[in-house]
């Protein structure tokens, strides 16, 4: 299983390296969303009882994670577009790769791309929205765990829709409700990482870890039947 996961992940990352879709298209898209949020919410608006912090700075964690979610939809769609355009899903079935390995490999490749994107988008969010930072270690843990949860849940539903002609519009409809708990927990944890208290942040981070394990476990079990039907 781990051999197949490594094979799939390295192949997907090689495709990304060859095409630069993540850096050339998904990253600029995420950057644009961050800028549009900044334009829509005036930096001059202050929140009552927040020590003069702007509304934009206060909302920065939520806006960042919504941006990441939107970018992840593109990455997930791309991840399965390369399998379905020339019948490669059938070829994977014929190769007899372990479905759980395929799931883990594709999730890991999406997670790696999202992590790279988030480093740049995160810097952009701090520059544009101006929130403080209480704990960089906590923030890093949150980013990793939330990314694992989003990529695991997203990979399951992107695979489910991969055989359909309406997959491009269906994937967001399927993925967004499922990853809503991750969005909520990641936002709360990030609020704690930038504003404190840090104890709250570690509690939310643990919840993100539980989500990531849950989605990964469900994905490993469900991916075989999903591949059969797609």
């Amino acid at each position: 299983m781990l051999r197949d996961a490594w094979l799939m992940a390295s192949k997907d990352l090689r495709i990304e390296w060859a095409t630069r879709v993540g850096m050339g298209q998904i990253l600029p898209f995420g950057g644009l969303v961050l800028i549009l949020f900044g334009l829509a919410i005036s930096p001059d608006l202050a929140v009552a009882g927040s020590d003069g912090r702007s509304l934009l700075a206060q909302a920065a964690p939520g806006l960042f994670w919504i941006t990441v979610l939107l970018a992840s939809l593109l990455a997930l769609g791309r991840s399965f577009a390369v399998e379905s355009t020339d019948g490669n899903l059938d070829a994977l079935k014929m190769a007899g790769l372990d479905p759980a390995g395929i799931f883990l490999g594709k999730s890991a490749a999406v997670a790696a791309q999202l992590l790279a994107l988030q480093v740049i988008l995160g810097i952009g969010a701090f520059v544009l929205y101006g929130p403080p930072l209480a704990d960089l270690v906590l923030l890093s843990v949150i980013v990793i765990l939330a990314t694992l949860g989003i990529s695991a849940a997203g990979t399951v539903y992107a695979a489910l829709a991969s055989g359909l002609t309406v997959r491009d519009t269906l994937v967001p409809l399927l993925v967004l409700p499922v990853v809503a708990p991750v969005l909520l927990a990641a936002t709360k944890a990030t609020e704690a990482a930038v504003y404190g208290p840090l104890d709250n942040g570690w509690s939310w981070a643990m919840l993100l870890g539980v989500f990531a394990l849950l989605y990964a476990g469900v994905g490993m079990l469900a991916f075989g039947p999903i591949m059969e039907e797609s």
Binding site: T85, D86, N88, M94, G96
Partner: protein, 223 residues
Amino acid sequence: MVNLAGAISLIGGFPALAGVDLTVDDGEIVVLRGPNGAGKSTLLRLCAGLAPLNGGTGTILGHDLSSREERRRIRRETGLLAHQTFLYDELTVEDNIRFWAKANRADPSTVEPILDRLDLGGRLRTVKISDLSAGQRRRASVAVMVCRRPKIWLLDEPHAGLDQSGRDFIDDIVRHAVRFGATVIIASHDHERVSNLATRTVHLVGGMVTGAAEGRQEGKNAS
């Protein structure tokens, strides 16, 4: 090798195969003929374990087509050359063949000789699949098939889009595969060419076998 009795396969609720009876023995080269929509491609996909068996009975290489687990074994032991290339457009020829060789647990040392044998070993090895001609893509797909060393070769219009030398090349590969113990089923509209290869021709119409002939002789009843 292949035993189908009253095989029915539904594609989106439509019976693409509506009761196919077909037996293929070890080492045969069976050519499937029939008009568009006759069910030739679906029959190949059924034999590859990819299309569902919704009625009747069928075994491929002794594995029962009605069992999901057995279908997985069939997939590993058969090779399908379809209309699609089964290759990643974004990767080079060499990257594709090495990936599929690893995925199929083929001996990695066979990749180089296969690249050379299929004239993919020169500058073509570093060219992306998306930049190849149709004939070169076909050769790359065949290279993956050769790496797999399947027991049954399922070829769907293998000569389509190829020039004379490309078609001759496919014929050579088929003869070579049979010499090394493979069984081949070919769906083709290129009647003149495939009749030179065939040990038997099977006619399909409307998802059913309507006739069969040994070699180039036409008009015998279905087996």
